[in-house]
């Protein structure tokens, strides 16, 4: 109870800071605390912005241990590890600046990481320059090459069907569950790389509003499972999935977002609804030994 109130409080606080950010800070790029040792001008400006907007969560040392951190789940990112969830680059590589800036614009869906849309582009670039000073890795390694995303294939019932088979074959359901509700047989055992419990994404939850931590478009969805969500159990599938197959999987995943109006859901409905996919589900479930607790897969609630 206490915990929840604290979180609400911090969200309010943050919302307030983010709001006033626009007013106070539009285009401002100087007038911050005097330069620290060896920082570039962008890093200096970023430092000032960081102390104002980020330090309460991410901490003075960038290790994710700010004053608010104990009350937050998930915990704020530890920038000293230089491990990031939202990347266009392969698993284990550093993200591009544009990936980090994208995260700042979006915020992180369903977490306490707010959107920093009210800041200016320059502010966000400066912040990214500054958070990169927390890890040596940015000096010794280059970001990976962004994975290539070919043009989207047409949405069709065949594509959705193939995507459903892939969901079985790649065993996404072991974590995400057959209905994508985040309740697969391994779900309750998962921890992130800091040993904090973590839930797989629940596709069916209307509150998610069809958004993901790392975007909301079909392209983003494609990128997410190809690059993986580093620092979490969610692995990369880039080495084991062909580009067109990946689009089929995207189309199927959209039908798990049952509350969302989408081309995918229309096509599936016209073809007879989720029940038409069931036959292959049972088949693959038998030979891949599904949830041992004998869950029924009857659509429902």
């Amino acid at each position: 109870m206490m915990k929840r109130r604290m979180i609400c409080l911090s969200i309010l606080l943050i919302a307030a800071t983010a709001g006033s950010a626009l007013a106070q800070n539009a285009g401002v790029s100087s007038g911050y605390p005097t330069p620290k040792n060896g920082f570039s001008p962008a890093e200096q400006r970023g430092h000032g912005l960081y102390l104002r907007y980020c330090v309460l969560c991410h901490g003075v040392f960038g290790d994710g241990n700010g004053d608010n951190a104990p009350f937050l789940d998930p915990r704020p990112r530890d920038f000293t590890a230089a491990t990031f969830k939202c990347r266009s680059t392969p698993t284990g590589t550093l993200p591009l600046d544009s990936d980090l800036i994208g995260t700042l614009v979006r915020g992180v869906q369903a977490t306490n990481m707010p959107s920093w849309r009210p800041l200016t582009d320059e502010n966000r670039q400066d912040l990214v320059a500054y958070i990169k000073t927390f890890s040596e890795r940015w000096k010794t390694e280059k970001p990976g090459d962004a994975i290539k995303i070919p043009p989207e294939t047409p949405v069709s019932i065949e594509s959705i069907r193939r995507g459903h088979e892939l969901f079985q074959k790649m065993e996404c359901w072991k974590c995400h569950g057959q209905q994508g509700r985040g309740d697969g047989p391994s779900a309750s055992t998962l921890t992130d790389s800091k040993d904090q419990p973590i839930r797989p994404y629940n596709f069916a939850m209307a509150r998610n509003d069809s958004r993901f931590k790392c975007g909301s478009e079909n392209q983003d969805l494609y990128r997410i499972f190809m690059t993986g969500v580093d620092g979490t159990p969610m692995p990369s599938f880039a080495d084991v999935m062909q580009p067109n197959d990946a689009w089929d999987l995207v189309h199927y995943l959209r039908t798990l977002q049952t509350e969302r109006r989408s081309k995918e859901n229309e096509v599936l409905k016209a073809a007879g609804g989720a029940a038409t996919l069931k036959s292959s589900e049972n088949k693959s479930e038998n030979n891949s030994a599904a949830d041992s607790n004998g869950k029924t897969h009857s659509g429902g609630h």
Binding site: D230, G231, S288
Partner: protein, 233 residues
């Protein structure tokens, strides 16, 4: 005449001192106290793996043998190794079989190719929780080709499969190929050591590290023992 003889002797020494004086460090790793009992692993959620084990396998955190022997300890030269930077050409292999990692502790040189194989009928995600090196996490469904990777920096890395929470293994990334992993009898052997001063380190996943200094002067075998204190649980 004399200079010529000396030159020849010197040259032989330079070319292969290892052949003239190849010292060996060998010994045993053991424990004192009472180690935690291995726990049986319940694989019923993954029948394709469970059926590969006639009797359920147990956790490998502490593998103890007769006479207090401690297995799975990485013993290596942490200072003075003559081969730092010589990356072996052949790859090391880490296999996922019966929802277990084989070997439980895999040693490799920095920069050496690491091949990860899935011999199971189920998907694994291979997730080495590196901190100094890059942390990656890849899915490997049955029948897909081996994953090829390498690590640039020395580190002991815990390896997990998030789908099968009982799976746990270790990568030991070293700057030398002078290493051994203690066997069931606790034994280890580091051969082919030219004369010199060495620091030998023994690393155990649960009991930590110990070091010992050794000087090799010629063609000799030095005995070194390591004794870890079992953690009380």
């Amino acid at each position: 005449m004399r200079t010529k003889q000396m030159l020849v002797a010197l040259l032989t020494l330079l070319v292969c001192p290892c052949l003239l004086f190849a010292g060996t460090v060998s010994g045993k790793v053991s424990y004192t106290g009472t180690p935690a009992k291995p726990k049986p692993i319940d694989m019923s959620k993954e029948p394709s793996c469970a059926k590969q084990h006639a009797t359920p396998i147990t956790t490998e955190t502490v593998v103890a043998g007769a006479n207090n022997a401690l297995a799975n300890v990485v013993v290596y030269i942490s200072a003075g190794a003559p081969d730092e930077g010589q990356v072996p050409q052949q790859a090391v292999t880490f296999e996922q079989k019966g929802c277990q990692y084989i070997p439980h502790v895999l040693v490799m040189h920095t920069g050496q190719e690491l091949k990860v194989l899935n011999s199971d009928q189920t998907s694994h995600n291979i997730h080495p929780l590196a901190k100094t090196n890059r942390e990656w996490n890849k899915s490997q469904p049955p029948g897909t080709p081996p994953i090829s990777e390498k690590y640039d920096k020395e580190e002991f890395i815990t390896v997990k499969c998030n789908v099968h929470p009982w799976m746990r293994g270790y990568f030991a990334v070293l700057k030398t190929s002078h290493y051994d992993v203690s066997k069931d009898d606790g034994g280890f052997k580091l051969p082919n050591l030219p004369p010199g001063k060495y620091t030998i380190t023994a690393w155990h996943e649960d009991y930590g590290t110990q070091t010992s200094d050794v000087t090799i002067t010629g063609n000799e075998t030095k005995d070194v023992t390591f004794t870890f204190k079992a953690k009380a649980y």
